[in-house]
C-alpha cells in the first residue's frame, strides 16, 4: 500500500510540469486554438493551412460554430489561447460563445483570426466592427477590379483579384519577399483612418470597388479604391493580435496551389503567394514573431551599483533595461537603435536614445535636471508590427541639503575681502591710535 502511494505521488510530481504547457508570459506563442467552422468540409478544403499550423506545434480543436457544447472558458479559466473563426455564415454561435465573450477573450490578451466571405452573417460583421474593421453593408457585395483581376478560365466577373499591395513590414510578413501576387475573392472592408491600432496588410489597386457583381450598378459604390482593405490586422493595446480577412476561400487549398496571372501582364506565376502570405501572417498573429519583452529595468548613480530611493538634482545617473524578442522557440536579444527613455514630470525634461550592446542590454547615462519633484523613467516604444512597450518607474528628486551648497561663493569674494580688510584696518588703527604721541 505504501509503495503504491509512493509511486502515485512520484508520477504526479513528474507529470505536473508537462500539464502546464499553455500560454504564459515565458512562452508567448499560443498553443491551444479553437477553430469554429461552418461545416466540416472546410476542415478538408483548407487542410493545407491547418496542417501547417499543426506542424508548428499548435493544438487545433475543430468544432462546428453552432455546436451547443463549445465554450471559451470554464470556471473563469480560458480553455484556449487563440480563436479562429472560419464560419462566415453563422447566425448564432452555439454553447456559451457570443460577440461579448469573444471580445472579452481578446481583451484578456488572446489572439483571434476572423474570415468573412460573400454573404457574411451579421454576427461576423459585428465581431469585425468591434475589432475596428467595417465590412461593406451590402450583404452580397464583393470586391471587383476590372483592371487588376486574375486571369482564369472559370470566373469572368472579375471578382477574383490578384493583388501585390502588401504592407511593408518584415516583422508581419517575414523577411522573405512574397514574389507572386496574392489571390482574393470575397468582401472588402474599410478602416477608420483615425484608428492607429489597425493596419492594412493586403490592399487593392485604386481601380477596385465593392459592389454586387450580379446586378447593375445604379448608385456609386460605397467603397472604392484605396479605402478598401482586403486583409487587415489589429494589434490591441494589450498586445492581442487580430487578423481579419474578407475571404475564406483565399485560405483554401485550391487558392494555395493555383497559379496566378495578373490581367495585362504576361508573367504567369506557378504558385500564388497565398500560402506564404498566410503562413507568415499567422506566425505574426500567434506571437511567433515580433513579440518583445522588457525586463531588468535598473537605474543607479554613476559609480554605484545599488538603486537609490531618491536622487538629488544635478546627479549623474545610469538607466538600463534589457529587451528580448521571441523567436518562436527562445528569447533572442532585440537589437534596435531607436529605443528612447524619458525623464518625465508633466513633460519630458530629458529624452535620450538608449545605446545597446547587441546582447539586448540598453543603457544610457544623463544628468538629473535642475528641477526637483517626482519624476518617472518612461520608455514608450511602438514600432510597426512589434508589441508596444510602455514602462514607467517613479523616482523622487530632492533639492540640495543646506550643507550641499558650495561653501564660498566666488562672486562674493570682494565682500569677504572688504569685511576682512575692515577688521585688519581696525586692528592697525587701534595700535596707531594708542602709540601715537
Amino acid at each position: 500500500m505504501r509503495k503504491f502511494w509512493v509511486i502515485f505521488v512520484a508520477s504526479i510530481s513528474i507529470l505536473l510540469p508537462f500539464l502546464c504547457n499553455s500560454f504564459s508570459p515565458e512562452i508567448p506563442t499560443d498553443r491551444r486554438v479553437l477553430v469554429l467552422l461552418d461545416d466540416l468540409a472546410i476542415k478538408s478544403s483548407h487542410s493545407s493551412y491547418f496542417n501547417s499550423l499543426k506542424s508548428r506545434g499548435f493544438d487545433l480543436d475543430f468544432k462546428l460554430a453552432d455546436d451547443p457544447k463549445i465554450a471559451l472558458q470554464r470556471y473563469g479559466q480560458y480553455l484556449y489561447d487563440a480563436l479562429i473563426l472560419f464560419c462566415p455564415s453563422v447566425e448564432r454561435f452555439g454553447g456559451s460563445i457570443d460577440v461579448a465573450s469573444i471580445i472579452n477573450f481578446v481583451d484578456s490578451g488572446h489572439d483571434l483570426i476572423v474570415a468573412a466571405d460573400v454573404n457574411a452573417s451579421d454576427l461576423i460583421r459585428e465581431v469585425a466592427t468591434e475589432c475596428g474593421v467595417d465590412f461593406d453593408e451590402d450583404p452580397s457585395a464583393m470586391v471587383i477590379d476590372h483592371i487588376r483581376y486574375a486571369v482564369s478560365e472559370t470566373e469572368g466577373d472579375h471578382t477574383l483579384i490578384a493583388s501585390d499591395d502588401l504592407i511593408k513590414s518584415d516583422v508581419i510578413l517575414g523577411s522573405k519577399k512574397i514574389t507572386a501576387p496574392v489571390l482574393f475573392q470575397g468582401i472588402g472592408h474599410s478602416l477608420n483612418p483615425v484608428n492607429s491600432l489597425v493596419l492594412k496588410v493586403l490592399s487593392t489597386s485604386p481601380s477596385a470597388y465593392s459592389a454586387n457583381p450580379k446586378s447593375k450598378l445604379s448608385t456609386p459604390p460605397s467603397l472604392m479604391g484605396s479605402e478598401i482593405s482586403l486583409v487587415s490586422v489589429v494589434q490591441a493595446r494589450n498586445n492581442a493580435r487580430i487578423l481579419i480577412s474578407g475571404s475564406l476561400s483565399m485560405i483554401s487549398n485550391r487558392f494555395f496551389r493555383s497559379g496566378v496571372q495578373k490581367a495585362g501582364s504576361t508573367t504567369k506565376h506557378e504558385k500564388s503567394g497565398n500560402e506564404q502570405f498566410f503562413t507568415e501572417l499567422s506566425k505574426w498573429v500567434f506571437h511567433e514573431r515580433g513579440h518583445l519583452k522588457a525586463v531588468n529595468v535598473k537605474h543607479h548613480k554613476v559609480g554605484e551599483t545599488d538603486e537609490p530611493a531618491l536622487y538629488r538634482i544635478n546627479d549623474e545617473l545610469v538607466y538600463s533595461l534589457e529587451i528580448y524578442e521571441w523567436s518562436g522557440s527562445s528569447w533572442e536579444p532585440y537589437v534596435a537603435d531607436n529605443v528612447q527613455v524619458q525623464f518625465y514630470m508633466m513633460s519630458p525634461y530629458v529624452l535620450k536614445t538608449l545605446s545597446n550592446d547587441k546582447k539586448g542590454l540598453y543603457s544610457t547615462s544623463f544628468k538629473v535636471p535642475d528641477v526637483y519633484g517626482v519624476f518617472q523613467f518612461k520608455v514608450e516604444y511602438q514600432k510597426l508590427g512589434y508589441t508596444s512597450l510602455s514602462l514607467a518607474k517613479q523616482i523622487p528628486v530632492r533639492p540640495y541639503r543646506h550643507n550641499e551648497y558650495e561653501r564660498f561663493i566666488p562672486t562674493a569674494y570682494p565682500y569677504y575681502g572688504a569685511a576682512f580688510s575692515t577688521m585688519a584696518g581696525f586692528f592697525i588703527f587701534s595700535f596707531v591710535h594708542l602709540y601715537n604721541k
Binding site: 570682494p414 565682500y415 569685511a419 581696525f426
Partner: protein, 114 residues
C-alpha cells in the same frame, strides 16, 4: 559783476579758511579721519561692484557694506569723544568702548557673511 567776483572770492576764502583750520587739528584726529575715509571708500567700491555684477549673495553684500559703515560710525564716535573739548568721558574710556563695539560688530559681520 562785483557780486559774482565776491561770491567766488567768498567761496575761495571759505575753502582756504577750512583748510587752515583743518591743518590746525591734532594729528590723532587726522588719523581717525583717514580711517573713516578708508572705510567709506571700501563701502563705495562694494556698491559699485554690486551695481555691475548683481546682488546675488545679497547677505554677503549687506555684511560687507555694514562692516564698512559700522566701522565708519564707530570711528566718528571715537573722534568726537577723544576731542580735547569733550568733557563727559575720559579718552581711555572712549577707546575701550570703541574696541568693544568693534568686536561685537565684527562678530555680527562674520556670522552674516555666509
Amino acid at each position: 559783476m562785483a557780486r559774482e567776483k565776491s561770491s567766488k572770492d567768498n567761496a575761495q576764502a571759505l575753502f582756504h579758511s577750512l583748510r587752515s583750520a583743518y591743518a590746525a587739528t591734532p594729528v590723532n584726529l587726522k588719523i581717525i579721519d583717514l580711517y573713516v575715509g578708508f572705510a567709506v571708500f571700501t563701502a563705495l567700491i562694494q556698491v559699485v561692484y554690486m551695481a555691475t555684477v548683481g546682488s546675488f549673495p545679497f547677505n554677503s553684500f549687506l555684511s560687507g557694506v555694514l562692516s564698512c559703515v559700522g566701522t565708519a560710525v564707530l570711528a566718528v564716535c571715537l573722534r568726537i569723544q577723544v576731542n580735547k573739548e569733550f568733557k563727559d568721558l575720559p579718552p581711555e574710556r572712549a577707546f575701550a568702548d570703541f574696541v568693544l563695539c568693534n568686536l561685537v560688530l565684527h562678530l555680527v559681520i562674520m556670522n552674516f557673511l555666509g
